[in-house]
Structure formats: C-alpha cells, structure tokens
Amino acid sequence: MLRIRPIAHERPSSVTAATDALQKLGEHGRVLGGGTDLLPNLKLGTDKGRALVSLAALPGLVGIAEDAERAGTVRIGAMTTLDVIANDPIVQRLLPSLAETVRRIASPQIRNQATIAGNLCLDTRCRYINQSDLFREALGGCLKSHGDACHVVVGSQNCVAALSCDTAPVLIALGARVHVVGGDDGGRTLAVADLYCTDGLAHTTLTQGELITAVEIPALPPTHWVTYRKWSRRKAIDFPLVSVALRLDTCRERDHLKGGMLVIGALGPKPRIVDLKKFKGRDIDAALAAEIGRVAEIRAKTLPNLPYDPAYRRRRAGVEAKRAVLAFMANR
C-alpha cells in the first residue's frame, strides 16, 4: 500500500507555539487539521511537506457560536469538523445554505474528521497532479510536480490547478471572513474572497506562519438568499467538477432583484465572482433565471484541469446557476 514517508510531527499546545513552529519550518511545514486532504497528498507524493504541525491540542479552535452583540453573526472555530457544522442547530437555523453545502462534501467518515479551515485550505487539484508517482514520472512532471511544463494550458508559466473545495464559494456568497493569527502582522481578518489568488502552486494569500483560527459569517438579511449547487459524477464522495453559489439580494416582497452575486467554483485556483448588479431591478422570474444561467456559462471559463470534459462543465455551470434561481422562486 501507499505509505507516508517518515515525517516530523509536532503537537503544540498553544496557538502561538503553533504559529512559531510554522514560521520556523517555513516551506517544509504543513498544518495538520483533519488531514483528510493532506495525508493522501503526502502518500501520493504530490505534497512535499516534511513536517506536520498538528492543531489537535490547541485550545479554542472548535465550536460554533452566535455573536452575543451582533445577532445573526456566526463564528465557527477553524478545527470544527464538517459533520458538526452540518448538524449544528445554529448553522441550520441561520445558515441553511452552509449546512446543505457541507452535507454534500465527501462522505460521513471524512466529514467526521475534516475541518472547516482545512476545507478552505484544500490544496488545488489537477488531473495531471493528483496521480501516482508512476503516472507523473511517465508524464514527465508538470509545474506542480517536478517538471516545468503545464499540460492544461500549454506554454503557461502559471499553474492553473483547480480549487476544489465546496465551502469557499458559498462562504464568499455569504460574505464570510476568516480570522488569521501569526505571520508578520501578528494577526488579521480577511474576506474569504481575498483568501485566494491565481497561482495554483500557492493558491492562498496566507503567508508563512499564518494560521486560520475561525470563520465568521455575518448575519444574512431576511431579504437575502444564498444557495450552493455542486456537480460531481456521484451523489457523494466526489470533489465538485463545477460548482455555483448564488446570492440574491431581493426587495422585501422577494419578487425583484436589488443585487447579488454568483460564485463559480472548481475552475482555476480561485473562485470566480460575478456581480449581478446589472440585473438590479429585474423581476425574479424564469427569464431572469435563464439570463443568469447564460452569464454563468459565459463566465465559467473551464479548463482541462479536472478529470472531466471542460465544455460540459461549462454548460453545466449555466444550468446549475439557472436552477439556483428557479430554486429560489420555488421556495420564496
């Protein structure tokens, strides 16, 4: 069987000790949360990390709470597992779209282990990378794997592996922010939308030594509505091959649009955000749904990076976006 090469492991007991350890280890260090993404990547050799910093003993990183001062604002500790989030009454009441999203991730066993911050920091995936040593050797490597060529965009100097996490699109649509400690600034808060950049080799904007401690989701006004739709080959287990989160900001009567956004996932290293302000004032009807679907299809510039026909994935993004609007109409 595949085994992880011998690897160093530390289990700090304070957040400061953890960020110090990560700072010291630099590019060789890896944050071990639930490990459901990291450990398989270490086994396959697609992740070259040499030391693990486990968060298991850190206090205060687990739990879900509604902010006492800002009603409706929810804070989720970085090490909270996906299963806990999916079944949490606060999340179910205030953030049903997030509960629904999390329930579509992987399998019950993986959700018992995987964490919210781990999902946000999921490594990018590509059909030329997430393969065995033999495959990558036969291929001659790529930008992300002991080579110098990109097989997705021939001639590209930039890795375009896809961000395949499910939570980022919906959290962006919800306007969520992440709290980060460590690094040169000592700590900061940034929008989930700003957590990603376009480099598939280093796709988060976290710097060395930085660690996410919590995700904070602001109260969703009653006139706003968020949903997430994911397409994968199977109804469970799989990563998305394309995904769409939709936020509709409506008038009080919920029949016409004041604004909103589409977030398309599983394209490149970063989710694509599409502002829907050009539809401001429009009736929310089948015609609008079809138009938003067309916008999604146009903006979903799929690449041959994930293991499925990009043309189909693009068409599918359009259908999913349209159906997201229709789902709102059916539920309003």
Binding site: M1, L134, G140, D309, R316
Partner: protein, 797 residues
C-alpha cells in the same frame, strides 16, 4: 459421464432455505483473515518496479544501488524467472518480470524485498533501468494495421492476438431478406463498449514462504488456486508437489484474480532466495494496472427481422482491444460471438472477431466474460427492430424464444430454459404495459434479455481429469467436514456446498465445516471462473454426500431392522419415513455408521458431459456449457434533458438459476450484477488514453504521452455509492436443469448482462435518442438530444 443427480424435487430440508452465508458473521465483525492480514515471523515486504513507458526495449537493469540500501534484503529481476507463462496454455506470452521489453505503462521489471514496505518503496528509485523507447500503439485499429511496430515480435500475425470467424446457415441471403421481404427490416448498427475493470475492494496480495523442507507455500488473493499452482511450478521450475497454494478469505474478485500475476512469482522467488517469508501487496494503482478487465469492443452488427419480428439473421464484426498480453483473450474472442446465440433463435448467424495487442494493461475476463459487450449490441439491435416494426419489445423477444431442450444455431444444447418465465416476471412486476403507456417525456422503460454458461464444458488445459472434486468426512461428533478445491471469493460457494452436504446428510448448515482452496488439503477444483462452482463442485458434493448418506442410512436401518429405503436423514435426525415417531439424533446415527463401517469418508468428483453439449466443428467447444442460465431486466430511467443526467430509478431483474440452493445468495448475485451493470453503463471507464491525455468527450486530446491510465484511484474511477444505486427487484425464477445439482444453474454473472442494454433502451423510450457508444455520459446525452432537435428542425422545414 453425466452428472449424478438426485433429490430433484422439493420439499427440501436445507436447500432453498432462508439462511445466510456461512462466513457472513466473520466478515461483518472483521474476523475473516484476508491475505494481507496474515503475518509471519521475519516476514519481508516486496515492491515491484514498473515501466513508465508504454512500449520500450530494456537495455539494462542495474540493481546494485538498491541492493546496497540498508534494510533491503534482496532483489529480483526477470532473468531469474525467464520462462513465459499464460493462463491459457496456447498463448504463454507473459513473464513474471520483463526481460527484453516492456509493453505497457506499469509492466513489471524488477522487485525488491526489504524489512518493511517503506524501505521497499524507497528502494525502487535506486534500481537503474535503461530503456530504448519504442512507438506505442494504443488504438487497436491502428495496431492491427501497423506491421512495422510489433508488440510481440515472435507473434506470427503482426499485432493480432486472435482471430475467429464462424458462420452458421445462409447468412447473406437471410440478411438480404430483411431488405427484400415485405414488412421486413435490416438494421445495421455500430456499437462501442468501453473498457471497465473489476474494482474489487480487496487489492491483490501474495505471501510466500519457503520452508526448511523445501516446500513453497503461497497464500494469495486468487480465484484460481489450481491454475496458480500450475503456473508457479512452471515459472519457478519446481515440481507441483513442492508447492502449496492457499487462498485465504477474498474480498471480491469478479474475474480480476483469475490468473497468476507478477506479485505471486515475485513473492515466491524472493522467499526462496532469502529463506524468509515475503509479502507483496498491490497498491490500488497496481490493481488498475494488473487489470484483466472487460475488453473494449468495437462492434458492427447487422440484423434482419421479418414482418412478424422473427430474427432472420445476425452478423457481427468485432475488434477487441486486448492490451499488452493474451490473458484469457483466446477464449474472450470466441465468447464474443459464441455466447450470443441464446436466448433467441437466429435464422442464420456469423461473427468475425479480432483481438488486437495494444500497449495498454492487458484485458481479460470480467463478470460476464466476453459476452456483456455483444449482448449490449444485440439487445439494442432488437429494440431498434421492435420500434421499426411498431412492436412491443417484450413481444418481439417472445417471438424468438429458443425454448427448452433446444439447440442453438451454433450447436449448443440448451436444457432447461426459464427465459419466457423471466420475461413474464419482469413484465408483470414492472407493470410494463400500464406504466409504459403513462410515462411522461423524460421517463422511459427498457427491456433486455440474456443467457450465460454454468461453467465452461472444458478445462483450460486439455485433460480428462475431473474438473471438480469434494471430499467429505463425518464422525461421532455429529459434524460434517467438507474439503473442496472450489474457490469462495465472496460469491458463497462454501455455503452452497455446505447446503448440499447438509441436505443429504441430515445435519444443519452450521454443522458443516468447509475447508476450501488449499492445494495441500483439498482435492483439485479448477476454481471460480465461468460461473462453474455451483454446478460442478455442487455435483461433486452430491456424489460424495450420497455415498456417505447411504452408509449412514444402512447402519441406522440395520439398527432398526428395516429397509434403508424408509430411513431419512433430515433436521439433525435419522427418522423412519413409515413411522415418523421413530427417530434418533443424527449424531447417534453417525456413531452407528462409524461403528459399522469404520472411519467415514468419501470423495466425489464431476466431469462435464462429453456428448450432447455442442456441435462438432473447430471452436464449437468454446462457450459450450452443461447448462445455461437466463435473465431478463426492465429498467425505469429518467433523463434530464437540460443536464444530460440519466437516473436509473428501478431495475426489475428476473434470473433463471435453475434452483436457488440459497435464495439470499442468489438475490445477492442478482443485485450485485445489476449494480455492476448500471455502473458500467453510466459511470465506470478503465480509460487508457490512446493518443495523449485527452479525456472522454474532448475533441482534441493532448499530444504528449500515450498509454497512461486516466485515473488509477477509486476517486478517478467512480463506482456508484448507495445514493447512485437504483432500486433493484431481484426475481428468482427456478427452471431446474437435469444437469445441475438439485437442478441449479449459475447466478453470478448472467444477471449483469441485460442491465446495460435495458438502461440504454429505456433512454430511447424516455427521450428518443440512441446511445450506441458506452458509457452513457451526460455530454453524450446532450449531444444526441441536440442532434435529434436539429434533425426534427430540418424535418419540419
């Protein structure tokens, strides 16, 4: 010599009862020991170095650096085991480790044994192999035409691995009648069946130990301990009496473990060299590379039907993509045509099948060996015929029934035949007539039928020796011990044999201990392939059990001073039939018998019938079986016209297994078959990229590397989750066959066949599109819907 048959009619005591598999509790509680669960003192771990090239000449192999690594105990290269082997003795074209050439990405070239798996893994990088890379042929038609690049240079027919051409009746004139007769139709279709693999959950694993007496013991996750035994002897150049093969619990096989693999030879050779036990466990990737899965078929079929729907003629031309080695390919090539002539009567028939070597993992037998692909084609052809004739597709199938005690056009003798009952059952339980009339657009029903063999009539190597054997012992404990070479790979053959013994000897199922698949302890059986275990090992068990039953009844009769004819053994008792108040516990009956006859043991064997099975022509023996199973399925399918998604809501699957010795096991086989068939129709694809890295549906594949497997993990090779699995109604039909034990026929492979065409035919019923090239993917559905809309548009204009 035909089968001993007995007790052919109910009521039965154990047969047909509501019992679980004998090993179910052990498997459910994690007690069952699979090969990888076995650990021996001082055991080493072996890993195999594999070729990164699809086709290359090996210029040199230097293991010096690897051998010098701390923790590495020994290395092995192909020149130490140069003899070629192959499961089919006529086509030995494989080596344990390649010596001169590698023929696919993943071909084995060298191996190391180390103190642990990590060290062995790491050592592979220190084996230096120099290759001269050769052009790779990954497209079978290209390989067939190419005479410059030869994958097997000593092959007399270029890159053609096997060609079979057989014709029965006046095919051309009967086909032409489809054009000329009033109301008749001639349907031509091109079909593609993609390759799929077995995806058994347990990876292959072998453990070898060479002891101080010179005995080599090999534990292996195999479904053919006997064939493995033979090939180990050949390649290691040891006499068979110095080799013992043991098959521990197996976690699924489906044909993927039905021949020897590199790891068994490697573990054995390294065990001999080091004097220490050596284990080799495949990674999931290695399972995908070892493959031997379902061949990709490219098929052209012509079918003529008359105005009443009678099949006048069928003609098929097929190219089989064989991959790098022969495997069972000779048989596959015959099966691709020979197994099509039932359950329908053909007026005339011919097939021309060509298996081609390509630089890909070798294809072989997967559940429904060689006949799932043509079955897909013919059942869609018949559906097309029914629509042209404006006939109910079930009615068209009924019009062409072969019936019982019939002979197919290619000369196979059909005994019992429950196909008509299968059609009746799925028609009734699916409510076909009323449901079909009411379905909205986007929802459809499809039907398909099939047949399969209950074991192949002849052994893989020419012999008149028994094909199956069972030894039974009983003693004063009241226990029955049954020894068999049969291979339980999860299908439940141990349970089936225990049922037969219990039925004859009057004990309960739990009183029978089955000791199986150990070549030192058990009599020879050919193994679990071609759906042969129930019929063949079952008949052997009957022969052995009958002999002992006779002795027990005789001893009890003497005790009671009555005729043995009035003594019956059932329900842990010996009882007088003429006076049921008179009985003794079965244990006492065994004591009487042991007292009267001494230690109690018997042997039974089975040989297939040598007459009345097949026609007398070259190739006529291949595909012939003592008895045939029959299946019919109805699928209820929904097509999303916007996304192309196909949802299979329900499959009603009726299967004539002759007699269900263990109904729960038969239902399990039907359900598992449907599951696998639907997965092959919609999802699974063992996809080796022919001209680069392009994936399904992509117009322009990348130009870089040929022969790479698109995904060698269970993430990239999706098998359905429970959420993706349709509702399945398993309907058991029992039409007992005189050649089967208690009338039993096979159930493990037949019920897979109709699932695929039933789904595809239902898609046509739902939205009017034909997907003739599998798998059915959303983008193909959308493309076909777009084409249909365009055609309608132009028809309207």
């Amino acid at each position: 010599m035909s089968a001993p048959t007995t007790l052919s009619s109910p009521p039965f005591d154990v047969v047909g009862g509501d019992h679980a598999k004998l090993d179910a509790p052990d498997r459910l509680t994690g007690v069952a020991a699979f090969t990888d669960d076995i650990t021996l003192p001082r055991m080493l771990h072996a890993k195999i170095l594999r070729s990164p090239h699809a086709h290359a000449r090996i210029l040199s192999i230097d293991t010096t650096r690897a051998a010098a690594l701390p923790g590495v105990v020994d290395v092995v290269v192909g020149s130490e085991m140069p003899l070629t082997y192959g499961v089919i003795p006529w086509t030995p074209d494989e080596q344990a480790l390649a010596t001169d050439k590698v023929r696919y990405v993943g071909d084995a070239v060298a191996a190391v044994a180390a103190i642990d798996e990590e060290t062995a893994n790491r050592a592979l990088a220190f084996i230096d192999v120099h290759y001269e890379v050769l052009p790779a042929l990954c497209d079978p038609r290209e390989a067939m035409a190419n005479t410059d690049v030869l994958i097997h240079e000593d092959n007399r027919h270029g890159n053609i691995s096997k060609r079979v051409k057989l014709a029965f009746g006046e095919v051309d004139s009967a086909l032409a009648a489809g054009d000329s007769e009033p109301g008749a139709h001639r349907i031509a279709g091109h079909y593609e069946f993609h390759g799929t693999t077995h995806a058994a959950i347990e990876p292959h694993c072998a453990l070898a130990h060479f002891d101080t007496t010179g005995l080599l013991t090999v534990w292996s996750a195999t479904q053919v301990p006997h064939y493995l035994h033979r090939e180990l002897a050949r390649v290691l150049e040891l006499p068979t009496y110095r080799i013992r093969v043991i098959q521990p619990a197996v976690g699924g096989a489906f044909g993927g473990k039905s021949e020897p693999f590199d790891l068994e030879f490697v573990a054995a050779r390294l065990a001999i060299k080091t004097g220490r036990p050596v284990k080799c466990l495949y990674t999931r990737e290695e399972v995908f590379l070892a493959h031997r899965g379902r061949h990709p078929f490219s098929m052209d079929y012509e079918t003529s039907v008359d105005a009443d729907g009678r099949i006048l003629a069928v003609s098929g031309e097929t190219v089989l993509d064989g991959g790098a080695y022969s495997s069972f390919g000779l048989v596959t090539t015959y099966y691709s045509g020979q197994l099509l002539c039932s359950p329908y009567s053909f007026g005339a028939y011919r097939f021309h099948s060509t298996r081609v070597y390509t630089n890909k993992p070798a294809c072989g037998p997967k559940r429904g060996h060689g006949s799932v692909q043509p079955r897909f084609a013919i059942e869609v052809q018949l559906d097309k015929a029914a629509h042209l004739l404006d006939m109910d597709p079930i009615a068209l199938r009924r019009r062409n029934l072969l019936g019982a005690n019939s002979t197919t056009i290619n000369g196979f003798h059909i005994g019992s035949n429950g196909f008509a009952a299968c059609l009746d059952a799925v028609e009734a339980s699916s409510d076909w007539q009323t449901r079909r009339a009411k379905l909205p657009r986007g929802r459809g029903l499809g039907v398909a039928g099939s047949t399969y063999i209950s074991g192949t009539n002849y052994c893989i190597y020419p012999t008149d020796l028994p094909q199956a054997a069972v030894q039974i012992c009983l003693d004063r404990s009241g226990r029955v011990r049954l020894f068999t070479g049969a291979s339980d790979i999860g299908q439940g053959s141990n349970t089936t044999l225990a049922v037969i013994a219990a039925e004859h000897l009057g004990v309960e199922l739990a009183d029978v201990r089955v000791i199986a698949a150990d070549t030192d302890l058990c009599p020879v059986d050919l193994g679990a392939y071609s759906s042969r275990q129930t019929l063949m090992a079952g008949n052997a068990a009957i022969m052995a059990a009958q002999e002992l039953g006779k002795k027990v009844r005789k001893a009890v009769a003497d005790h009671w001073q009555c005729s043995p004819k009035v003594v019956t053994l059932a329900g842990r008792r010996a009882q007088r039939l003429d006076d049921p108040a008179v009985f003794i516990p079965i244990q006492d009956a065994f004591v009487l018998a042991e007292t009267a006859f001494g230690t109690l043991g018997s042997v039974g064997h089975y040989n297939t019938p040598r007459s009345g099975v097949h026609g007398d022509y070259r190739g006529g023996t291949i595909g012939a079986s003592p008895a045939y199973s029959f299946s019919a399925h109805v699928a209820d399918v929904e097509v999303d016209v916007e996304t192309g998604d196909v949802t299979v809501h329900h499959i009603w699957a009726a299967h004539d297994c002759g007699r269900a010795l263990s109904p729960v096991l038969v239902e399990g086989q039907i359900e598992g078959s449907v599951y696998m068939g639907v997965a092959e129709a919609l999802m699974e694809h063992h996809h080796v990229m022919p001209t680069g890295l392009g994936l399904e549906g992509e117009k322009e594949p990348g130009p870089w590397v040929s022969g790479l497997l698109a995904g060698s993990s269970l993430l990239d090779y999706p098998i359905p989750t429970t959420l993706d699995t349709p509702e399945i109604s398993a309907l058991i039909i029992e039409d007992p066959d005189p050649r089967g034990p208690f009338g039993a026929k096979e159930a493990g492979e037949g019920p897979l066949h109709p699932a695929i065409p039933a789904v595809v035919n239902a898609i046509y019923d739902a939205v009017g599109i034909r997907i003739d090239c599998l798998p059915v993917t959303p983008e193909k559905v959308l493309a076909a819907l777009d084409a249909l809309a365009a055609q309608k548009g132009s028809d309207d204009a």
